[in-house]
């Protein structure tokens, strides 16, 4: 009995370690390349270590420009997304109106439509409206990817705020607006924060659509990656990858407990 138990423990441990290696291996391997002078197959360590590639990236105007573009566009996208979607999320979460469920299903269906196909048809629209190669075009394209996050997660959070908490505030003398501001919004805030972070990442990482709409005029960091992979040494791509991951890593720190707390999972259920 004890031997079997020990064996099971070892099995579980091995499986867990294998999974972690599977997840972390590629990232660490790529990360190591960012500081390597060169790499000889089949060595497991670089020939030498350097920060040369970092200087190269920051000195390259195209690369630095892409970083700036990304950092500029993404917050705008998230902001617009929040302004458009949060009222809708509140309506969906709080009111039942005819077609509410249809709307949810429709949105899900639209989300099931392959993005690249959506971009293809958007491209048609953008040609007609002269939005190809413009910042507005990219903003719209990136906006599309954020809508699902920005609507569903907050909607379920709004729905989860107990009515009695709002009524207690009304009874205490607060107007509807004050109740929304001080009670409803506050209680939904962690989920909204998660939605904002997910939207930020979705927008920041969006490549296909931005490439289609933006190239060759405007490059964001991810679309620049496509070019990098083909035209630069692997170490530059590695450096750029690390830079591209920085916002994500910062946001993990902010959002970890909420996301792991299952808020995300809850957000994706139609009620």
């Amino acid at each position: 009995m004890n031997a079997r138990r020990a064996l099971r423990e070892i099995g579980i441990g091995a499986l867990a370690i294998a999974l972690m290696a599977f997840i972390l291996g590629p990232i660490l391997w790529l990360g190591a390349h960012a500081f390597a002078t060169s790499w000889t197959f089949p060595r497991l360590s670089a020939d030498g270590w350097t920060t040369h590639w970092w200087h190269e990236v920051f000195a390259d105007s195209a690369l630095a420009g892409a970083i700036r573009t990304s950092l500029l566009i993404t917050p705008v996208v998230v902001l617009i997304s929040a302004v458009i979607c949060l009222p809708a999320a509140y309506a969906i979460g709080r009111h039942s109106f005819p077609g509410r469920r249809l709307f949810l299903i429709g949105m899900f269906a639209a989300n099931a439509f392959p993005k690249i196909g959506l971009f293809a048809s958007l491209a048609a629209l953008f040609y007609a409206m002269n939005l190809m190669g413009t910042v507005i075009g990219i903003v719209i394209v990136q906006l599309l990817g954020t809508i699902v996050f920005m609507t569903w997660i907050p909607a379920s959070a709004f729905a989860a705020v107990p009515r009695s908490l709002e009524e207690a505030a009304r009874d205490a003398g607060a107007s509807r607006l004050t109740v929304f501001r001080t009670i409803t919004l506050r209680l939904a805030m962690p989920s909204i924060l998660v939605a904002v972070i997910m939207s930020f990442l979705a927008s920041f990482d969006e490549a296909q659509g931005s490439y289609l709409v933006g190239a060759p005029n405007i490059y964001t960091m991810p679309t620049e990656m496509y070019a990098l992979v083909e035209n630069y040494p692997i170490q530059v791509a590695a450096v750029f990858s690390i830079l591209l991951s920085v916002p994500s890593v910062i946001l993990i720190g902010l959002a970890r407990q909420h996301i792991i707390g299952g808020r995300l999972a809850e957000g994706f259920q139609i009620r």
Partner: protein, 348 residues
């Protein structure tokens, strides 16, 4: 409708409901309800679930607007006002404390939204927290304190508004039995000393009987009776009240020579008004003890007589099952068409 205490008749009622009516989902929940609550009085709205008491309370608080009728608080018609503009404060059933605020901030909220000066807020909140003995939990979050303490925070949040009318929605239903008695007494003491007109909604007759000055029993959207607790128990105006408040043996027929005989109307006999002894006497009929169930400080004894089977509450020496003796009805309530005709007293 109201009775007793005529001395209050010339003063403005603390709360007046006039012809209050509300239908929800095609069903009439509250049906032209009228009620006067005296200033400083604690009135219990008692009834089974679904009787309309919660709907009534929500109309008083302003969360529901009535289809017809009026709500007046301290002489002022507030029917058209939203909950935030009514001089009433409510303690919610689940307390409805805001989890993202400390105890202090929860209690301070009503004053903050009214734009009260900061020092004034601190003074008044600390005062009311001292009143409910929660000063040591001033900076705790609702999740960190016990159910009884949460209840007191909810009460403090209502009291800090210095309301003309305090509304308690099943305030004790989430507490365990022992705490319930304690909190109930605290609420009563506090309400008395502050002299706030108070409505307490409950489905628990013990709670209603022990805490309130008067009780309004609701049934099917109407008020069946408004009386003091002892009056309500001694003279239940309708059959429903008799059955809902306390416990009764209820039979079709009339009481003749101490026996239930066929006849028009209904006879209701409280279990404590049945006397069982071994010896025969006036008005007593032969009876056999069928079962004995201990119920704490008394025993529930089922007695079989030739006319009816009676449930009796007995204290002192309890007979064994199968004992033969004589059972007598000391007092009975006689109803015609559901309404009280008379209280029939047996011979002492």
């Amino acid at each position: 409708m109201t009775e007793g205490t005529t001395t209050m008749a010339d003063t403005t009622p603390g709360l007046r409901l006039a012809a209050l009516t509300k239908s929800l989902g095609g069903r009439r929940i509250v049906d032209s309800l009228a009620l006067d609550v005296h200033p400083g009085e604690m009135l219990a709205l008692l009834g089974p679930s679904g009787c309309g008491k919660t709907t009534t309370l929500r109309m008083i608080a302003g969360f529901l607007s009535p289809d017809a009728g009026r709500v007046e608080i301290a002489g002022r018609d507030v029917t058209a006002l939203g909950p935030e503009r009514r001089p009433s404060a409510m303690v919610f059933q689940q307390y409805a404390l805001w989890p993202h605020m400390t105890v202090f901030r929860n209690v301070a909220y009503p004053l903050r939204v009214r734009g009260v000066d900061r020092h004034e807020i601190t003074r008044r909140v600390d005062e009311v927290l001292a009143l409910v003995h929660l000063t040591h939990h001033r900076d705790s979050r609702p999740a960190q304190i016990s159910g009884g303490e949460q209840q007191r925070v909810a009460l403090a949040r209502a009291l800090v508004q210095q309301p003309d009318l305090l509304l308690l929605d099943e305030p004790l239903s989430n507490l365990d039995a022992k705490l319930r008695v304690q909190v109930r007494e605290e609420i009563r003491t506090l309400q008395r000393s502050l002299g706030i007109t108070t409505i307490i909604v409950t489905h628990d007759q013990d709670e209603a009987l022990s805490i309130s000055d008067r009780i309004a029993v609701m049934h099917d959207g109407r008020i069946e009776q408004v009386s003091t607790p002892s009056e309500l128990y001694a003279r239940p105006a309708t059959e429903f009240v008799a059955q809902f408040v306390g416990s009764v043996n209820s039979y079709e027929g009339v009481l003749r020579d101490g026996a239930v005989r066929p006849g028009p109307g209904t006879i209701a006999i409280r279990p404590e008004h049945i006397e069982f002894r071994l010896e025969a006497r006036d008005g007593a009929l032969p009876a056999v003890v069928r079962s004995v169930v201990p119920r704490g400080h008394f025993h529930e004894v089922v007695l079989e007589r030739e006319d009816v089977t009676l449930r009796a509450y007995m204290t002192g020496r309890i007979p064994d099952e199968g004992t033969r003796g004589w059972a007598r009805v000391q007092q009975a309530l006689r109803y015609r068409d559901g309404h009280l005709q008379e209280v029939v007293e047996g011979q002492a």
